[in-house]
Protein backbone atom coordinates (compact mmCIF):
# COMPACT_ATOMS: atom_id res chain seq x y z
CA UNK A 1 0.00 0.00 0.00
CA UNK A 2 1.16 3.50 -0.65
CA UNK A 3 1.24 6.18 1.93
CA UNK A 4 -1.64 8.62 1.29
CA UNK A 5 0.52 11.37 2.73
CA UNK A 6 3.38 10.70 0.35
CA UNK A 7 4.41 13.83 -1.52
CA UNK A 8 3.69 14.04 -5.24
CA UNK A 9 7.38 13.65 -6.00
CA UNK A 10 10.31 12.80 -3.81
CA UNK A 11 13.79 12.26 -5.19
CA UNK A 12 17.02 11.44 -3.45
CA UNK A 13 20.35 11.84 -5.18
CA UNK A 14 18.79 11.25 -8.61
CA UNK A 15 21.45 10.75 -11.29
CA UNK A 16 21.41 10.33 -15.06
CA UNK A 17 24.62 9.98 -16.99
CA UNK A 18 25.15 10.26 -20.74
CA UNK A 19 28.64 9.08 -21.57
CA UNK A 20 30.82 11.18 -19.27
CA UNK A 21 28.27 13.95 -18.88
CA UNK A 22 26.31 13.84 -15.63
CA UNK A 23 23.15 15.41 -17.05
CA UNK A 24 21.42 15.02 -13.70
CA UNK A 25 23.87 14.92 -10.85
CA UNK A 26 22.22 14.13 -7.53
CA UNK A 27 18.90 15.94 -7.56
CA UNK A 28 17.04 16.05 -4.25
CA UNK A 29 13.55 17.39 -4.60
CA UNK A 30 10.27 17.16 -2.73
CA UNK A 31 7.14 18.31 -4.52
CA UNK A 32 4.16 18.74 -2.21
CA UNK A 33 0.72 17.77 -3.48
CA UNK A 34 -1.74 20.22 -4.95
CA UNK A 35 0.44 23.08 -6.09
CA UNK A 36 2.59 24.25 -8.96
CA UNK A 37 6.21 23.32 -8.48
CA UNK A 38 8.59 25.12 -10.77
CA UNK A 39 11.89 23.68 -11.93
CA UNK A 40 13.85 26.62 -13.19
CA UNK A 41 17.10 26.55 -15.04
CA UNK A 42 18.85 27.34 -18.29
CA UNK A 43 19.01 24.95 -21.23
CA UNK A 44 21.09 21.90 -20.54
CA UNK A 45 20.65 22.20 -16.77
CA UNK A 46 19.01 18.78 -16.57
CA UNK A 47 15.36 19.82 -16.25
CA UNK A 48 13.97 17.69 -19.07
CA UNK A 49 16.08 14.71 -18.09
CA UNK A 50 14.80 14.93 -14.53
CA UNK A 51 11.19 15.15 -15.64
CA UNK A 52 11.63 12.27 -18.08
CA UNK A 53 12.90 10.08 -15.28
CA UNK A 54 9.93 11.01 -13.10
CA UNK A 55 7.53 10.27 -15.96
CA UNK A 56 9.13 6.81 -16.42
CA UNK A 57 10.52 7.72 -19.84
CA UNK A 58 14.14 7.37 -18.75
CA UNK A 59 15.66 5.04 -16.21
CA UNK A 60 17.70 6.74 -13.50
CA UNK A 61 21.34 5.70 -13.25
CA UNK A 62 21.46 6.40 -9.55
CA UNK A 63 19.47 7.61 -6.56
CA UNK A 64 15.76 7.10 -6.00
CA UNK A 65 12.60 8.77 -7.21
CA UNK A 66 9.09 8.20 -5.93
CA UNK A 67 5.86 9.56 -7.38
CA UNK A 68 3.00 9.42 -4.86
CA UNK A 69 5.12 6.87 -3.02
CA UNK A 70 5.64 4.63 -6.08
CA UNK A 71 9.18 3.89 -7.14
CA UNK A 72 9.59 5.05 -10.76
CA UNK A 73 11.91 2.13 -11.44
CA UNK A 74 10.05 -0.80 -9.93
CA UNK A 75 6.47 0.47 -10.01
CA UNK A 76 6.46 2.28 -13.33
CA UNK A 77 2.98 1.06 -14.25
CA UNK A 78 1.50 2.49 -11.04
CA UNK A 79 3.25 5.80 -11.70
CA UNK A 80 1.93 5.95 -15.26
CA UNK A 81 -1.63 5.59 -14.02
CA UNK A 82 -1.34 8.79 -12.01
CA UNK A 83 0.72 11.09 -14.21
CA UNK A 84 0.50 12.73 -17.61
CA UNK A 85 3.23 14.52 -19.46
CA UNK A 86 3.27 17.26 -22.03
CA UNK A 87 6.70 17.38 -23.57
CA UNK A 88 8.63 20.23 -25.08
CA UNK A 89 7.79 19.05 -28.54
CA UNK A 90 4.20 18.46 -29.52
CA UNK A 91 3.48 14.98 -28.24
CA UNK A 92 0.65 14.57 -30.71
CA UNK A 93 0.50 12.89 -34.08
CA UNK A 94 0.86 15.75 -36.54
CA UNK A 95 -0.75 13.84 -39.38
CA UNK A 96 -4.01 13.37 -37.48
CA UNK A 97 -6.58 16.01 -36.63
CA UNK A 98 -6.86 17.40 -33.12
CA UNK A 99 -10.02 15.41 -32.47
CA UNK A 100 -8.56 12.20 -33.87
CA UNK A 101 -5.56 12.60 -31.60
CA UNK A 102 -7.73 13.06 -28.54
CA UNK A 103 -10.03 10.22 -29.53
CA UNK A 104 -7.04 7.96 -30.03
CA UNK A 105 -5.51 8.84 -26.66
CA UNK A 106 -8.94 8.67 -25.01
CA UNK A 107 -9.39 5.13 -26.23
CA UNK A 108 -5.95 4.27 -24.93
CA UNK A 109 -6.90 5.54 -21.49
CA UNK A 110 -9.83 3.12 -21.56
CA UNK A 111 -12.82 5.06 -22.91
CA UNK A 112 -15.04 3.46 -25.52
CA UNK A 113 -14.74 5.07 -28.90
CA UNK A 114 -17.85 7.22 -28.57
CA UNK A 115 -17.01 8.40 -25.06
CA UNK A 116 -13.42 9.09 -26.07
CA UNK A 117 -14.64 11.26 -28.94
CA UNK A 118 -17.13 13.10 -26.73
CA UNK A 119 -14.49 13.77 -24.09
CA UNK A 120 -12.11 14.95 -26.80
CA UNK A 121 -14.70 17.33 -28.21
CA UNK A 122 -15.45 18.77 -24.76
CA UNK A 123 -11.80 19.36 -24.02
CA UNK A 124 -11.08 20.93 -27.40
CA UNK A 125 -14.05 23.26 -26.89
CA UNK A 126 -12.86 24.17 -23.41
CA UNK A 127 -9.47 25.03 -24.88
CA UNK A 128 -10.99 27.17 -27.62
CA UNK A 129 -10.06 24.69 -30.33
CA UNK A 130 -13.46 23.46 -31.48
CA UNK A 131 -13.08 25.07 -34.88
CA UNK A 132 -9.70 23.42 -35.34
CA UNK A 133 -10.89 20.01 -34.16
CA UNK A 134 -11.03 18.56 -37.66
CA UNK A 135 -7.81 20.12 -38.89
CA UNK A 136 -4.51 18.25 -38.92
CA UNK A 137 -2.29 19.16 -35.98
CA UNK A 138 0.56 20.08 -38.33
CA UNK A 139 -1.54 23.02 -39.50
CA UNK A 140 -1.95 24.37 -35.94
CA UNK A 141 -0.06 27.42 -34.72
CA UNK A 142 2.37 26.99 -31.84
CA UNK A 143 -0.13 28.16 -29.25
CA UNK A 144 -2.93 25.94 -30.56
CA UNK A 145 -0.60 22.97 -30.59
CA UNK A 146 0.44 23.53 -27.01
CA UNK A 147 -3.17 23.81 -25.88
CA UNK A 148 -4.15 20.66 -27.76
CA UNK A 149 -1.17 18.95 -26.20
CA UNK A 150 -2.22 19.93 -22.69
CA UNK A 151 -5.81 18.89 -23.49
CA UNK A 152 -4.47 15.45 -24.42
CA UNK A 153 -2.95 15.16 -20.95
CA UNK A 154 -6.34 15.78 -19.34
CA UNK A 155 -8.40 13.00 -20.94
CA UNK A 156 -7.99 11.25 -17.66
CA UNK A 157 -7.44 13.88 -15.03
CA UNK A 158 -3.94 13.08 -13.78
CA UNK A 159 -2.94 13.56 -10.15
CA UNK A 160 0.37 14.91 -11.34
CA UNK A 161 0.90 16.74 -14.60
CA UNK A 162 4.39 17.30 -15.98
CA UNK A 163 4.65 20.33 -18.22
CA UNK A 164 8.06 20.54 -19.82
CA UNK A 165 8.64 24.14 -20.92
CA UNK A 166 5.00 24.67 -21.82
CA UNK A 167 5.45 28.18 -23.18
CA UNK A 168 8.81 27.94 -24.92
CA UNK A 169 8.54 29.65 -28.27
CA UNK A 170 5.02 31.02 -27.71
CA UNK A 171 4.01 34.62 -28.26
CA UNK A 172 2.95 36.56 -25.14
CA UNK A 173 -0.78 36.09 -25.73
CA UNK A 174 -0.53 32.33 -26.21
CA UNK A 175 1.69 32.22 -23.17
CA UNK A 176 -0.94 33.97 -21.08
CA UNK A 177 -3.54 31.49 -22.30
CA UNK A 178 -1.37 28.59 -21.23
CA UNK A 179 -0.81 30.23 -17.84
CA UNK A 180 -4.53 30.59 -17.33
CA UNK A 181 -5.01 26.94 -18.20
CA UNK A 182 -2.33 25.88 -15.75
CA UNK A 183 -3.93 27.91 -12.95
CA UNK A 184 -7.29 26.29 -13.68
CA UNK A 185 -5.82 22.80 -13.64
CA UNK A 186 -4.14 23.36 -10.29
CA UNK A 187 -7.33 24.79 -8.82
CA UNK A 188 -9.03 21.44 -9.43
CA UNK A 189 -6.47 19.63 -7.31
CA UNK A 190 -3.91 18.36 -9.80
CA UNK A 191 -0.28 18.88 -8.88
CA UNK A 192 1.70 20.49 -11.68
CA UNK A 193 5.43 20.13 -12.07
CA UNK A 194 6.53 22.78 -14.49
CA UNK A 195 9.96 23.22 -15.99
CA UNK A 196 10.85 26.55 -17.42
CA UNK A 197 13.78 28.68 -18.39
CA UNK A 198 11.64 31.79 -18.07
CA UNK A 199 12.14 33.34 -14.70
CA UNK A 200 8.94 35.30 -14.92
CA UNK A 201 6.95 32.16 -15.59
CA UNK A 202 8.15 30.42 -12.45
CA UNK A 203 7.45 33.61 -10.50
CA UNK A 204 3.92 33.89 -11.92
CA UNK A 205 2.83 30.30 -11.48
CA UNK A 206 4.89 28.35 -9.01
CA UNK A 207 4.25 28.01 -5.29
CA UNK A 208 7.72 26.59 -4.85
CA UNK A 209 10.71 26.70 -7.13
CA UNK A 210 13.81 24.57 -7.45
CA UNK A 211 16.60 26.32 -9.29
CA UNK A 212 18.65 23.77 -11.15
CA UNK A 213 22.00 24.22 -12.84
CA UNK A 214 24.52 21.67 -14.15
CA UNK A 215 22.32 18.80 -12.97
CA UNK A 216 22.08 19.99 -9.36
CA UNK A 217 19.47 21.85 -7.34
CA UNK A 218 21.25 25.02 -6.30
CA UNK A 219 18.35 26.65 -4.45
CA UNK A 220 14.85 25.78 -3.38
CA UNK A 221 12.01 27.70 -1.84
CA UNK A 222 9.02 29.92 -2.48
CA UNK A 223 9.55 32.71 -5.01
CA UNK A 224 9.48 35.14 -2.08
CA UNK A 225 12.16 33.25 -0.18
CA UNK A 226 14.38 33.12 -3.21
CA UNK A 227 13.97 36.81 -3.79
CA UNK A 228 14.57 37.84 -0.23
CA UNK A 229 17.77 35.85 -0.30
CA UNK A 230 19.15 38.44 -2.69
CA UNK A 231 17.69 41.52 -1.04
CA UNK A 232 14.50 43.49 -0.97
CA UNK A 233 14.74 45.14 -4.34
CA UNK A 234 15.87 48.25 -6.09
CA UNK A 235 14.77 51.89 -6.02
CA UNK A 236 14.81 53.52 -9.42
CA UNK A 237 14.78 57.31 -9.49
CA UNK A 238 14.58 59.76 -12.39
CA UNK A 239 15.51 63.35 -11.73
CA UNK A 240 14.46 66.43 -13.63
CA UNK A 241 17.91 67.98 -13.58
CA UNK A 242 21.00 65.97 -14.35
CA UNK A 243 23.07 68.43 -12.32
CA UNK A 244 21.45 67.17 -9.13
CA UNK A 245 22.44 63.55 -9.74
CA UNK A 246 25.58 63.59 -7.58
CA UNK A 247 23.68 65.08 -4.67
CA UNK A 248 20.85 62.61 -5.11
CA UNK A 249 23.32 59.77 -5.12
CA UNK A 250 24.88 60.90 -1.86
CA UNK A 251 21.50 61.36 -0.16
CA UNK A 252 20.14 58.00 -1.30
CA UNK A 253 23.29 56.17 -0.28
CA UNK A 254 23.15 57.71 3.19
CA UNK A 255 19.45 57.16 3.65
CA UNK A 256 19.23 53.63 2.30
CA UNK A 257 22.63 52.41 3.37
CA UNK A 258 23.04 50.95 -0.08
CA UNK A 259 25.19 51.25 -3.17
CA UNK A 260 23.77 53.65 -5.71
CA UNK A 261 24.50 53.15 -9.40
CA UNK A 262 24.34 55.86 -12.02
CA UNK A 263 22.33 54.58 -14.95
CA UNK A 264 23.18 55.15 -18.59
CA UNK A 265 20.35 57.67 -18.67
CA UNK A 266 22.00 60.87 -17.32
CA UNK A 267 19.06 61.68 -15.02
CA UNK A 268 18.50 58.17 -13.60
CA UNK A 269 19.87 56.32 -10.58
CA UNK A 270 19.32 52.91 -9.12
CA UNK A 271 19.80 51.98 -5.48
CA UNK A 272 19.90 48.32 -4.55
CA UNK A 273 18.56 47.62 -1.09
CA UNK A 274 20.78 44.73 -0.16
CA UNK A 275 19.39 43.74 3.22
CA UNK A 276 17.01 40.86 3.71
CA UNK A 277 14.32 43.19 4.96
CA UNK A 278 10.75 42.41 3.93
CA UNK A 279 8.91 44.43 1.30
CA UNK A 280 7.18 46.72 3.71
CA UNK A 281 10.37 47.82 5.35
CA UNK A 282 11.90 48.35 1.94
CA UNK A 283 8.94 50.49 0.89
CA UNK A 284 9.11 52.53 4.07
CA UNK A 285 12.79 53.10 3.69
CA UNK A 286 12.36 54.06 0.03
CA UNK A 287 9.72 56.65 0.83
CA UNK A 288 11.84 58.04 3.65
CA UNK A 289 14.72 58.38 1.20
CA UNK A 290 12.48 60.21 -1.27
CA UNK A 291 11.47 62.54 1.52
CA UNK A 292 15.14 63.32 2.06
CA UNK A 293 15.52 64.19 -1.61
CA UNK A 294 12.48 66.45 -1.52
CA UNK A 295 13.74 68.26 1.58
CA UNK A 296 17.11 68.82 -0.11
CA UNK A 297 15.35 70.33 -3.12
CA UNK A 298 16.17 67.54 -5.54
CA UNK A 299 13.29 67.33 -8.01
CA UNK A 300 12.20 63.73 -8.68
CA UNK A 301 10.25 63.22 -11.91
CA UNK A 302 9.59 59.54 -11.51
CA UNK A 303 10.50 56.70 -9.19
CA UNK A 304 9.71 53.06 -8.72
CA UNK A 305 10.43 50.35 -6.18
CA UNK A 306 11.25 47.23 -8.12
CA UNK A 307 11.12 43.89 -6.39
CA UNK A 308 14.12 41.74 -7.22
CA UNK A 309 13.50 39.66 -10.29
CA UNK A 310 14.36 36.00 -10.45
CA UNK A 311 17.04 37.08 -12.91
CA UNK A 312 18.79 38.69 -10.01
CA UNK A 313 18.20 35.56 -7.92
CA UNK A 314 19.80 33.46 -10.59
CA UNK A 315 22.67 35.87 -10.86
CA UNK A 316 23.21 35.79 -7.12
CA UNK A 317 23.09 31.98 -6.98
CA UNK A 318 25.26 31.10 -9.93
CA UNK A 319 27.32 34.19 -10.33
CA UNK A 320 26.34 34.31 -13.96
CA UNK A 321 23.44 35.64 -15.95
CA UNK A 322 21.13 32.88 -17.14
CA UNK A 323 22.20 32.70 -20.76
CA UNK A 324 20.49 29.69 -22.31
CA UNK A 325 22.74 29.38 -25.32
CA UNK A 326 25.90 29.66 -23.28
CA UNK A 327 25.14 26.57 -21.23
CA UNK A 328 23.44 24.48 -23.89
CA UNK A 329 26.75 23.37 -25.32
CA UNK A 330 27.85 21.26 -22.39
CA UNK A 331 24.76 19.07 -22.38
CA UNK A 332 24.93 15.70 -24.03
CA UNK A 333 21.43 14.69 -23.00
CA UNK A 334 18.03 15.51 -24.45
CA UNK A 335 18.31 19.01 -23.06
CA UNK A 336 20.96 19.69 -25.66
CA UNK A 337 18.24 19.70 -28.27
CA UNK A 338 16.96 22.90 -26.71
CA UNK A 339 19.52 25.02 -28.47
CA UNK A 340 17.15 25.98 -31.26
CA UNK A 341 14.77 27.51 -28.76
CA UNK A 342 17.45 29.50 -27.04
CA UNK A 343 16.88 32.76 -28.87
CA UNK A 344 13.23 32.75 -27.93
CA UNK A 345 14.30 32.14 -24.34
CA UNK A 346 16.58 35.14 -24.25
CA UNK A 347 13.84 37.37 -25.57
CA UNK A 348 11.38 36.23 -22.94
CA UNK A 349 13.88 36.56 -20.13
CA UNK A 350 14.53 40.14 -21.11
CA UNK A 351 10.84 40.78 -21.18
CA UNK A 352 10.51 39.14 -17.79
CA UNK A 353 12.97 41.47 -16.13
CA UNK A 354 11.17 44.53 -17.32
CA UNK A 355 7.76 43.39 -16.12
Amino acid sequence: MTDPHAPAVETNGLVKIYGDNRAVDGVDMTVPKGAVYGVLGPNGAGKTTTVKMLATLLRPDGGTAHVFGHDVRTEAAAVRRRVAMTGQYASLDEDLTGLENLTLLGRLTGYHKRDARARGEQLLTAFGLEEAADRQVKKYSGGMRRRADIAASLLNVPDLLFLDEPTTGLDPRSRNQVWEIIRTIVATGTTVLLTTQYLEEADQLANRIAVIDHGKVIAEGTPGELKSSVGAGAVHVRLRDTGQREEARRLLAASLGADVELDADPVALTARISTTADDRAAAERASAALGELARAGVVVDDFSLGRPSLDEVFLALTGEKPAPDATAGDAGGPDAQDTTKATAGVAAVTEGTRA
Binding site: D95, A126, K138, Y140, T184
Partner: protein, 284 residues
Amino acid sequence: MSTATTDNATDGAQLRPVADNLSELLVSREQPPRPSALSASLTFGWRAMLKIKHVPEQLFDVTLFPIIMTLMFTYLFGGALAGSPTEYLQYLLPGIMVMSVIMTTMYTGVSVNTDIQKGVFDRFRTMPVWRPSPMVGYLLGDALRYTVASVVILIVGLIMGFRPEGGPLGVLAGIALLVAFSFSFSWIWTMFGLLLRSDKSVMGVSMMVLFPMTFLSNILVQPDTMPGWLQGFVEVNPVAHLVAAVRDLMAGHVNAAELTWTVVAGAVLMLVFGSLTMRIYNRK
Protein backbone atom coordinates in the same frame (compact mmCIF):
# COMPACT_ATOMS: atom_id res chain seq x y z
CA MET B 1 5.41 24.63 -43.32
CA SER B 2 3.88 27.80 -44.55
CA THR B 3 0.39 26.46 -43.98
CA ALA B 4 0.51 27.00 -40.22
CA THR B 5 -2.56 28.93 -39.20
CA THR B 6 -2.26 31.68 -36.68
CA ASP B 7 -4.73 31.95 -33.84
CA ASN B 8 -7.48 34.05 -35.26
CA ALA B 9 -9.15 36.98 -33.66
CA THR B 10 -12.05 34.95 -32.31
CA ASP B 11 -9.59 32.88 -30.36
CA GLY B 12 -9.22 35.27 -27.47
CA ALA B 13 -12.96 35.67 -27.19
CA GLN B 14 -13.36 31.92 -26.99
CA LEU B 15 -10.81 31.67 -24.30
CA ARG B 16 -12.69 33.75 -21.75
CA PRO B 17 -15.15 31.03 -20.69
CA VAL B 18 -12.34 28.47 -20.80
CA ALA B 19 -11.57 28.49 -17.11
CA ASP B 20 -15.13 27.70 -15.96
CA ASN B 21 -15.68 25.11 -18.64
CA LEU B 22 -12.40 23.47 -18.02
CA SER B 23 -12.77 23.10 -14.28
CA GLU B 24 -16.10 21.35 -14.83
CA LEU B 25 -14.36 18.87 -17.09
CA LEU B 26 -11.68 18.22 -14.53
CA VAL B 27 -13.94 17.62 -11.54
CA SER B 28 -14.51 13.94 -12.13
CA ARG B 29 -11.45 11.88 -11.35
CA GLU B 30 -13.14 8.64 -12.22
CA GLN B 31 -10.92 6.61 -14.46
CA PRO B 32 -12.23 4.18 -17.02
CA PRO B 33 -10.74 0.69 -16.71
CA ARG B 34 -7.45 0.11 -18.49
CA PRO B 35 -7.94 -1.05 -22.06
CA SER B 36 -7.12 -4.69 -22.77
CA ALA B 37 -3.96 -5.60 -24.65
CA LEU B 38 -6.02 -6.37 -27.73
CA SER B 39 -8.06 -3.20 -27.61
CA ALA B 40 -4.93 -1.04 -27.10
CA SER B 41 -3.19 -2.74 -30.04
CA LEU B 42 -6.25 -2.31 -32.25
CA THR B 43 -6.45 1.34 -31.28
CA PHE B 44 -2.85 1.83 -32.40
CA GLY B 45 -3.75 -0.06 -35.57
CA TRP B 46 -6.60 2.39 -36.07
CA ARG B 47 -4.07 5.20 -35.84
CA ALA B 48 -2.15 3.63 -38.74
CA MET B 49 -5.40 3.59 -40.76
CA LEU B 50 -5.98 7.27 -40.00
CA LYS B 51 -2.47 8.07 -41.16
CA ILE B 52 -3.15 6.34 -44.46
CA LYS B 53 -6.35 8.37 -44.75
CA HIS B 54 -4.48 11.65 -44.22
CA VAL B 55 -1.31 10.77 -46.11
CA PRO B 56 -2.50 8.49 -48.92
CA GLU B 57 0.81 9.03 -50.74
CA GLN B 58 2.34 6.47 -48.39
CA LEU B 59 0.43 3.82 -50.34
CA PHE B 60 2.68 4.44 -53.35
CA ASP B 61 5.23 2.00 -52.02
CA VAL B 62 2.61 -0.73 -51.79
CA THR B 63 1.00 0.00 -55.16
CA LEU B 64 3.33 1.59 -57.71
CA PHE B 65 6.53 -0.04 -56.45
CA PRO B 66 5.19 -3.63 -56.69
CA ILE B 67 3.71 -2.96 -60.13
CA ILE B 68 7.05 -1.68 -61.38
CA MET B 69 8.87 -4.66 -59.84
CA THR B 70 6.51 -7.16 -61.45
CA LEU B 71 6.60 -5.57 -64.91
CA MET B 72 10.33 -5.02 -64.81
CA PHE B 73 11.46 -8.49 -63.82
CA THR B 74 8.88 -10.34 -65.92
CA TYR B 75 9.89 -8.65 -69.14
CA LEU B 76 13.59 -8.36 -68.26
CA PHE B 77 14.23 -12.01 -67.46
CA GLY B 78 11.16 -13.78 -68.92
CA GLY B 79 12.53 -14.39 -72.42
CA ALA B 80 16.01 -15.34 -71.30
CA LEU B 81 15.11 -17.60 -68.42
CA ALA B 82 11.87 -19.31 -69.37
CA GLY B 83 11.40 -18.79 -73.07
CA SER B 84 8.62 -16.22 -72.70
CA PRO B 85 7.47 -13.64 -70.15
CA THR B 86 4.13 -15.44 -69.60
CA GLU B 87 5.93 -18.71 -68.97
CA TYR B 88 8.31 -17.02 -66.50
CA LEU B 89 5.46 -15.20 -64.78
CA GLN B 90 4.05 -18.52 -63.55
CA TYR B 91 7.31 -19.04 -61.68
CA LEU B 92 8.09 -15.44 -60.79
CA LEU B 93 4.82 -14.02 -59.52
CA PRO B 94 4.67 -15.62 -56.05
CA GLY B 95 8.33 -14.73 -55.60
CA ILE B 96 8.05 -11.13 -56.73
CA MET B 97 5.05 -10.78 -54.43
CA VAL B 98 7.18 -11.94 -51.51
CA MET B 99 10.02 -9.67 -52.58
CA SER B 100 7.87 -6.54 -52.82
CA VAL B 101 6.15 -7.16 -49.49
CA ILE B 102 9.37 -8.03 -47.65
CA MET B 103 10.95 -4.86 -49.08
CA THR B 104 7.98 -2.86 -47.80
CA THR B 105 8.52 -4.08 -44.24
CA MET B 106 11.39 -1.63 -43.77
CA TYR B 107 8.94 1.25 -43.60
CA THR B 108 7.87 -0.07 -40.20
CA GLY B 109 11.26 0.90 -38.81
CA VAL B 110 11.11 4.26 -40.55
CA SER B 111 7.71 5.12 -39.03
CA VAL B 112 8.81 4.04 -35.55
CA ASN B 113 11.88 6.24 -35.87
CA THR B 114 9.94 9.22 -37.20
CA ASP B 115 7.51 9.02 -34.29
CA ILE B 116 10.35 8.98 -31.79
CA GLN B 117 11.83 12.10 -33.32
CA LYS B 118 8.49 13.89 -33.30
CA GLY B 119 7.85 13.27 -29.62
CA VAL B 120 4.48 11.55 -29.95
CA PHE B 121 6.29 8.43 -28.82
CA ASP B 122 6.93 9.86 -25.37
CA ARG B 123 3.21 10.37 -24.99
CA PHE B 124 2.54 6.72 -25.82
CA ARG B 125 5.26 5.56 -23.49
CA THR B 126 3.76 7.36 -20.50
CA MET B 127 0.33 5.83 -21.07
CA PRO B 128 -0.72 2.98 -18.82
CA VAL B 129 -1.35 0.52 -21.66
CA TRP B 130 0.03 -2.90 -22.53
CA ARG B 131 3.64 -2.10 -23.37
CA PRO B 132 4.00 -3.76 -26.77
CA SER B 133 0.71 -2.33 -28.06
CA PRO B 134 2.17 0.67 -29.94
CA MET B 135 4.51 -1.72 -31.78
CA VAL B 136 1.79 -4.22 -32.49
CA GLY B 137 -0.30 -1.30 -33.75
CA TYR B 138 2.32 -0.31 -36.31
CA LEU B 139 2.51 -3.89 -37.49
CA LEU B 140 -1.26 -4.27 -37.74
CA GLY B 141 -1.39 -1.19 -39.94
CA ASP B 142 1.51 -2.53 -41.95
CA ALA B 143 -0.17 -5.92 -42.33
CA LEU B 144 -2.92 -4.07 -44.16
CA ARG B 145 -0.34 -2.46 -46.41
CA TYR B 146 1.19 -5.88 -47.10
CA THR B 147 -2.24 -7.18 -48.06
CA VAL B 148 -2.78 -4.23 -50.39
CA ALA B 149 0.60 -4.82 -52.05
CA SER B 150 -0.13 -8.55 -52.46
CA VAL B 151 -3.52 -7.91 -54.02
CA VAL B 152 -2.11 -5.28 -56.36
CA ILE B 153 0.56 -7.68 -57.58
CA LEU B 154 -1.97 -10.47 -57.94
CA ILE B 155 -4.21 -8.31 -60.10
CA VAL B 156 -1.30 -7.14 -62.27
CA GLY B 157 -0.18 -10.75 -62.55
CA LEU B 158 -3.60 -11.99 -63.55
CA ILE B 159 -3.83 -9.32 -66.22
CA MET B 160 -0.39 -10.31 -67.52
CA GLY B 161 -1.34 -13.96 -67.73
CA PHE B 162 -0.59 -15.51 -64.33
CA ARG B 163 -2.82 -18.58 -63.96
CA PRO B 164 -2.33 -20.15 -60.52
CA GLU B 165 -3.32 -23.83 -60.33
CA GLY B 166 -4.19 -23.57 -56.67
CA GLY B 167 -7.24 -21.44 -57.50
CA PRO B 168 -8.61 -18.65 -55.26
CA LEU B 169 -8.14 -20.73 -52.14
CA GLY B 170 -4.51 -21.51 -52.85
CA VAL B 171 -3.75 -17.87 -53.70
CA LEU B 172 -5.52 -16.67 -50.57
CA ALA B 173 -3.59 -19.12 -48.41
CA GLY B 174 -0.34 -17.97 -50.03
CA ILE B 175 -1.09 -14.30 -49.33
CA ALA B 176 -2.15 -15.09 -45.77
CA LEU B 177 1.13 -16.90 -45.12
CA LEU B 178 3.10 -14.04 -46.65
CA VAL B 179 1.35 -11.38 -44.57
CA ALA B 180 1.71 -13.43 -41.37
CA PHE B 181 5.43 -13.99 -42.00
CA SER B 182 5.99 -10.31 -42.82
CA PHE B 183 4.28 -9.34 -39.54
CA SER B 184 6.80 -11.48 -37.64
CA PHE B 185 9.71 -10.36 -39.81
CA SER B 186 8.94 -6.66 -39.22
CA TRP B 187 9.99 -6.90 -35.58
CA ILE B 188 13.55 -6.64 -36.88
CA TRP B 189 12.68 -3.15 -38.06
CA THR B 190 10.86 -2.06 -34.92
CA MET B 191 14.09 -2.89 -33.13
CA PHE B 192 16.24 -0.90 -35.55
CA GLY B 193 13.69 1.90 -35.55
CA LEU B 194 14.17 2.23 -31.79
CA LEU B 195 17.90 1.68 -31.87
CA LEU B 196 19.13 3.94 -34.66
CA ARG B 197 19.36 7.70 -34.58
CA SER B 198 17.66 8.72 -37.79
CA ASP B 199 15.21 7.36 -40.32
CA LYS B 200 17.98 7.54 -42.92
CA SER B 201 20.17 5.11 -41.00
CA VAL B 202 17.15 2.83 -40.54
CA MET B 203 16.72 2.84 -44.32
CA GLY B 204 20.40 2.14 -44.84
CA VAL B 205 20.49 -0.85 -42.51
CA SER B 206 17.21 -2.16 -43.95
CA MET B 207 18.60 -2.10 -47.48
CA MET B 208 21.74 -3.87 -46.36
CA VAL B 209 19.70 -6.70 -44.88
CA LEU B 210 16.90 -6.83 -47.43
CA PHE B 211 18.85 -6.85 -50.67
CA PRO B 212 20.80 -10.04 -49.98
CA MET B 213 17.82 -11.71 -48.32
CA THR B 214 15.55 -11.18 -51.32
CA PHE B 215 17.98 -11.39 -54.26
CA LEU B 216 20.01 -14.30 -52.89
CA SER B 217 17.05 -16.62 -52.93
CA ASN B 218 14.87 -18.62 -55.26
CA ILE B 219 12.74 -15.59 -56.16
CA LEU B 220 14.20 -14.76 -59.57
CA VAL B 221 15.95 -18.01 -60.53
CA GLN B 222 16.21 -21.62 -59.42
CA PRO B 223 19.24 -21.91 -57.12
CA ASP B 224 20.61 -25.00 -59.01
CA THR B 225 23.05 -22.98 -61.10
CA MET B 226 24.44 -21.00 -58.16
CA PRO B 227 27.83 -21.85 -56.66
CA GLY B 228 27.74 -24.19 -53.67
CA TRP B 229 28.35 -21.57 -50.98
CA LEU B 230 25.52 -19.46 -52.33
CA GLN B 231 23.19 -22.45 -52.44
CA GLY B 232 24.15 -22.97 -48.81
CA PHE B 233 22.97 -19.43 -48.02
CA VAL B 234 19.71 -19.89 -49.94
CA GLU B 235 19.14 -23.12 -47.94
CA VAL B 236 19.05 -21.20 -44.66
CA ASN B 237 17.48 -17.99 -45.96
CA PRO B 238 13.98 -17.89 -44.42
CA VAL B 239 12.75 -15.78 -47.33
CA ALA B 240 13.61 -18.62 -49.73
CA HIS B 241 11.57 -21.03 -47.66
CA LEU B 242 8.69 -18.60 -47.54
CA VAL B 243 8.81 -18.25 -51.32
CA ALA B 244 8.83 -22.01 -51.78
CA ALA B 245 5.86 -22.40 -49.44
CA VAL B 246 3.87 -19.58 -51.07
CA ARG B 247 4.69 -20.84 -54.56
CA ASP B 248 3.44 -24.31 -53.67
CA LEU B 249 0.28 -23.02 -52.01
CA MET B 250 -0.56 -20.99 -55.09
CA ALA B 251 0.16 -23.99 -57.25
CA GLY B 252 -2.24 -26.03 -55.18
CA HIS B 253 0.10 -28.11 -52.99
CA VAL B 254 0.69 -27.92 -49.32
CA ASN B 255 4.44 -28.31 -48.88
CA ALA B 256 4.57 -29.34 -45.23
CA ALA B 257 8.36 -29.09 -44.93
CA GLU B 258 8.60 -25.55 -46.36
CA LEU B 259 5.51 -24.48 -44.45
CA THR B 260 6.99 -25.69 -41.16
CA TRP B 261 10.31 -24.00 -41.96
CA THR B 262 8.51 -20.72 -42.65
CA VAL B 263 6.30 -20.83 -39.58
CA VAL B 264 9.17 -21.75 -37.26
CA ALA B 265 11.42 -19.06 -38.78
CA GLY B 266 8.63 -16.49 -38.35
CA ALA B 267 8.06 -17.52 -34.74
CA VAL B 268 11.78 -17.35 -33.93
CA LEU B 269 12.15 -13.94 -35.59
CA MET B 270 9.19 -12.55 -33.66
CA LEU B 271 10.39 -14.04 -30.38
CA VAL B 272 13.95 -12.79 -30.70
CA PHE B 273 13.37 -9.38 -32.24
CA GLY B 274 10.06 -8.83 -30.44
CA SER B 275 11.74 -9.25 -27.07
CA LEU B 276 14.74 -7.16 -28.12
CA THR B 277 12.36 -4.47 -29.31
CA MET B 278 10.48 -4.44 -26.02
CA ARG B 279 13.72 -4.45 -24.05
CA ILE B 280 14.93 -1.36 -25.86
CA TYR B 281 11.48 0.23 -25.67
CA ASN B 282 11.38 -0.17 -21.90
CA ARG B 283 14.99 0.77 -21.24
CA LYS B 284 15.27 3.71 -23.56
